[in-house]
């Protein structure tokens, strides 16, 4: 099964696995879109990291793709998405449900609360299998045991019969991963899968995801705001600020050659483990709320370089090899000078 999947992925390599060309949506009565023209793509076998501060819309965008946003509160205003080259309709609930858990799987940030406390973990995994495959209960249970083994849980035959509360956070997150991968999805969306965990456990989980990805060739979207995790795992990075992707590109380019002032600010805010201990450079101010969202560049209220022109929608500038940034002045060192 693994083999066929890998083959499949080779045959469709030309088109990205998931190609979000434009995604805009708003909540409730608000006219301003929370997500504005979000675009990114991920290919099979590749890891895309979405970074950005808390509340910028990372989770909302992935929930939208999963079809897990409530239709009565979230209004999708624009959605041009392809999955494996085919149009992917965010309004077709039935189709979304077929995709969910089968081709596209998701794991969430909170391992402690994301598993149903009332059911055995084995049943919860088996349920995911049976939702999409026509298998017997016994087969589904076997699959559950196998999956637990694959995510490195010792004695999986016994563990399937345990309840979530009997497991530690790290184990639960592994169960979540096992559940997400139970149907060999083509795409895994991991929404801050390690934020709630210790560094030692975190590195185990990241290793696990990496290994599994190598085995099955699935594409991964990893949401995080921990740049350390990004540096470790990402092939590509998309930097999100207030609902827009302000910069995207190969991981190396983002780390070593960031273009957008926000990306630079973010990198500067990280305390370092080596080198001299200097006062941290920060991104001053706070993120605008949806009501106070400025026109044009959304970062303009906090950007130390903001000029009048920033009231206009910034152009997307390209810096080669898929590295783009939305800024009037990128590259800064070329377009700006000291006053």
């Amino acid at each position: 099964m693994v083999a066929t999947l890998v083959q499949n992925h080779i045959s469709i390599e030309a088109t990205p696995l998931l190609d979000v060309r434009a995604l805009s949506l708003g909540f409730g009565a608000s006219k301003t879109n929370l997500l504005e023209g979000v675009r990114y793509s991920v290919e099979a076998g590749e890891t895309l990291c979405i970074v950005g501060e808390s509340g910028c819309g990372k989770s909302v965008s992935s929930l939208a793709i999963m079809g897990l946003l409530r239709h009565d509160v979230a209004h999708i205003r624009e959605a041009d998405i392809r999955f494996r080259g085919e149009p992917y309709d965010l309004h077709d609930t039935a189709a979304l449900r077929r995709h969910r858990g089968a081709d596209i799987a998701m794991i969430f940030q909170e391992p402690m609360t994301s598993l149903n406390p009332a059911f055995r973990v084995g049943d919860q995994i088996a349920e995911a299998v049976r939702a999409h495959r026509n298998v017997t209960e016994a087969e589904a249970n076997d699959r559950a045991v196998n999956m637990l083994r694959r995510v490195g849980i010792p004695a999986p035959e016994a563990r399937v019969n345990e309840y979530p509360h009997q497991m530690s956070g790290g184990m639960r997150q592994r169960v979540m991963i096992a559940m997400a991968l139970a149907n060999d999805p083509a795409l895994l969306i991991a929404d801050e899968p390690t934020t709630a965990l210790d560094v030692t456990i975190q590195s185990q989980i990241l290793d696990l995801i990496r290994t599994l990805q190598a085995e099955t060739g699935m594409g991964t979207i990893m949401i995080t705001h921990d740049l350390g995790v990004v540096a470790e795992i990402a092939d590509k990075v998309a930097v999100m600020y207030a609902g827009t992707i302000v910069e995207a590109g190969p991981a190396e380019a983002i780390f070593n050659d960031p273009q957008h002032p926000y990306t630079i600010g973010l990198m500067s805010s990280m305390p370092k483990l080596t080198g001299p201990r200097e006062r941290l450079t920060t991104v001053p101010g706070t993120v605008p709320t949806i009501e106070t969202m400025p026109d044009g560049c959304r970062f303009s209220t906090r950007c130390p370089f903001a000029q009048h022109v920033c009231k206009e929608t910034p152009p997307e500038r390209s810096f080669g090899a898929g590295h783009t940034a939305l800024c009037h002045f990128a590259p800064l060192n070329e377009r700006l000078e000291r006053a």
């Binding site: 805010s269 305390p271 991104v283 001053p284």
Partner: protein, 367 residues
């Protein structure tokens, strides 16, 4: 120790837990026999995996919970049994910053009242007007505006709320502030704001800080000294630089090696820790770390290691039977160099830092 402001001797705290409907309660040894000294004016950091007893220790130091056994002194006064007036006074001199800025502010009180409340208790002689002025001052001190006093906590972002918490802690004019993971709940850009703020306040007001965290980069950035905890015990302590450069306890090493570094291509060989952290309800005998220690030997299963001087730097101590041998094996892997930023990128970072510091820029005439 003439300069010690807070000392703790053999602090222990047990909880009765479980006692579920079926079983009798078990003893959870959250903190076991911890001794610490905090010097006036220094910043002491306490690190450790979650659940290792950091918060319990902090709350004990703050006397929010009583120790099961052990002594504490504050400026030479015995405080472990303080009650009533003595406790109120202690709380003027010693303040607390909570981990979660979202849950630690009463959602139904305005910020002004929240910050003014410690004044009400500790400086009752102040008139209402003076108190309001003082609250405005405090808010300004943490980078908020006095008008913000009329608003409710939920109208603020996480970073702003943490500032409110800090303003509140500063209100009584404390000598020592204990922060229980004051930045863990914040994301990097906000975290940086709060870290800078704390550093400024410490420098300006001459505060002593005890900071709890599990992010080692944050620790390294903020502290003078570090104590590393594992499963209720301090396993290593010493000056920050020594701990990061020459960690001696295998747990400290593992912790340091597991931190992903935010630099492209920079990696470090990991010291793999197997298994999960044991439960404090039933801690392993001997060295508590032996179940996960890659260097564990027979002796570790029986003998409880004491904190010993490492001889690397004054005050650097580790609780491991074999740290000399492990160090000799050269076990602590060094990070690789990373790919490094381009010159253009470095220029951009410099430009950014200058702009933040107030340097104006203007668009270059485009070619």
């Amino acid at each position: 120790m003439p300069n010690a402001i807070l000392t703790a001797m053999n602090l222990t705290r047990h909880f009765k837990v479980g006692g579920s409907l079926f079983t009798r309660p078990k003893t959870l040894r959250a903190v076991e026999d911890v001794s610490l000294t905090v010097q006036k004016g220094e910043t002491l950091a306490i690190v450790g995996e979650s659940g290792c007893g950091k918060s319990t220790l902090a709350r004990m130091l703050m006397r929010l919970i009583a120790p099961t056994s052990g002594q504490m002194t504050f400026e030479g006064r015995q405080i472990d049994q303080a009650e009533g007036r003595a406790l109120t006074e202690l709380r003027r001199d010693m303040q607390f910053i909570f981990q979660d800025p979202f849950s630690s502010l009463n959602p139904r009180m305005t910020v002004g009242r929240l910050v003014g409340e410690p004044l009400e208790t500790h400086a009752p002689q102040l008139s209402g007007k003076d108190r309001r002025a003082k609250v405005g001052e405090l808010l300004a001190q943490v980078g908020l505006r006095p008008e913000h006093g009329e608003r409710y906590p939920h109208e603020f972002s996480g970073g702003q709320r943490q500032r409110i918490g800090i303003a509140r802690a500063l209100a009584s004019g404390p000598k020592l502030i204990i922060g229980d993971e004051p930045v863990s709940a914040l994301d990097v850009s906000v975290q940086a704001q709060v870290i800078n703020l704390l550093a400024d306040l410490r420098d300006r007001l001459g505060l002593t800080l005890v900071v709890i965290a599990h992010d080692l980069a944050v620790i390294r950035h903020m502290s003078d000294r570090v104590a590393v905890m594992y499963l209720g015990k301090v396993v290593e302590e010493g000056p920050t630089d020594e701990i990061f450069a020459t960690p001696r306890h295998p747990y400290t090493m593992a912790l340091l090696s597991a931190i992903p570094e935010a630099e492209y291509g920079r990696t470090r060989a990991q010291i793999p820790l197997t298994g999960e952290m044991p439960s404090p309800i039933d801690p392993p005998a001997g060295c508590r770390f032996h179940t996960r220690c890659p260097f564990a030997r027979e002796a570790c299963k029986q003998d409880v290691p004491a904190l010993r001087d490492t001889g690397i730097a004054p005050g650097h101590r580790a609780a491991c039977h074999f740290f000399e041998e492990i160090a000799a094996e050269g076990a602590m892997p060094l990070p690789t160099g990373g790919t490094g930023r381009s010159e253009a990128a470095k220029a951009r970072f410099a430009l950014y830092a200058e702009a933040i510091a107030g340097q104006k820029t203007r668009p270059r005439a485009q070619p």
